[in-house]
Symmetry: C2
Subunit: 257 residues, 2 copies
């Protein structure tokens, strides 16, 4: 712990999409604890690939939990975005200074951003006015070496505490497994999944499908998140939630006939 | 039916997030049928506010259905994005010429875009290379007057068939209930929900929460989707899925220290 980083008045909200039992969120809470008081509000179970879901048709349940003397919070039977909304309007008695989501087990670079519950928690925090960082380790294994992810997280937190973030901007940090080689500013790579659905037949003779796929990068550039990661560096991408295609919009007249 | 619109070689894929039993998808399939052959691939139940989810942890089941002689397809126990992916890689024996998602019961303008399963189906189609339109009626009621939504859909389909859409661009159409007053090109309004969670206690004396909220527009302009709708017009917003905050990115140097 760098004692210079710590401020007991600082409140840090931690969320993820892998659920409160994932090693990644424990690691993130520990790193966050170097900077201030930590409250975890996170899903009670795996919520990967939920995208920016919210729960409108089911009641939300909140359960307090405590991992150790320093780390605890609330688990929620909902999505990452639900957790942030609940923290903001119901569960926290003061505003967090920063919101962290992760450390996800698996990359959230390229097109993965739009499917990612980890990123959606951070985006939701940004919408609500909090500086927020999503952090993912590119290795899926729950036993991956998160040392680089922890160090990259420290640096990103320091950057945000020092510089702030403009309104509407979220930071999306992706880090290879193992020690940290460096962090590069990057853009979301234009990419898509080449999917295949593996068809199987269940014991009752009914067919079903599993989704599988591999990611294909559609454009070039050393400054794309997926390429930065291939080179062994962590990528940090500023993202925003205005989906308007402004160039196309600017070419239209006022009405569609 | 305008017979000029119809082309028997044209294949139109129809999806939604309210499920195959919603009146909106029936209406959409009927309008689509004026332009070509229609196949519905849609969730087997209500999937609102699922955002851009995909189903990775559960097997997907596909069930053929037929509403009448002209309208049928496949229901899927998954999300709107799952439906489009399955259609693309497994269920369709030729490529659709256009993908339509809706007609959603409820607006998908402003910040609602990022929570919307209706929009995510169209975005997924765009990612896979198909021209796509998401259509929503601003009225939640399943008995709302969809005549304006149907007419706006016709005009949007004609626009896309005539002009095509640039790679990576999806059209997001929102239409007030009742007759169509006109369709205006619009930008996604910067907006957020002012949420409250209504706390209740269940019959077993356990607390739970329902999410409720009202939408707040954060900036001004007659060309914002939510404001166009307030004026009684339909709004059509070109959207894209590159979330990079390019202005912020351009101000950074290569590395974060």
């Amino acid at each position: 712990m760098t004692s210079n980083d710590y401020n007991s008045d600082r409140l840090i909200l931690v969320c993820n999409d892998d659920g409160i039992f994932a090693p990644g969120i424990r690691s993130l809470a520990e790193v966050a604890g170097e900077f201030g008081e930590v409250v975890i509000i996170a899903p009670d179970r795996q919520q990967s690939a939920v995208g920016h879901s919210i729960t409108v048709s089911d009641p939300l349940r909140v359960t307090p939990f405590q991992i150790n003397a320093k780390i605890g919070g609330h688990s929620v039977n909902g999505t990452p975005a639900d957790c942030i909304k609940l923290g903001h309007s119901k569960l926290l008695n003061r505003k967090p200074d920063i919101v962290l989501s992760g450390i996800n087990h698996g990359s959230n670079a390229g097109i993965n951003i739009i499917y990612s519950g980890t990123v959606s928690a951070a985006t939701e925090a940004t919408i609500l006015g909090y500086p927020a960082i999503a952090i993912s380790c590119t290795e899926f294994s729950e036993t991956a070496d998160l040392s680089g992810s922890r160090e990259a997280t420290r640096r990103a937190i320091r950057y945000v505490l020092k510089n702030g973030l403009p309104s509407g901007i979220t930071l999306n940090l992706n880090v290879p497994g193992g020690p940290l080689k460096g962090i590069r500013w990057a853009k979301q790579a234009n990419s898509r999944y080449i999917e295949s659905f593996e068809g199987r037949v269940d014991p009752h003779n009914k067919p079903y499908f599993w989704i599988t796929g591999r990611l294909e990068i559609l454009d070039d550039g050393d400054n794309l998140d997926l390429n930065v990661l291939k080179m062994g560096y962590a990528s940090i991408t500023p993202i925003q939630y205005d989906l308007t295609a402004h160039l196309f919009y600017n070419r239209q007249n006022g009405d569609l006939e």
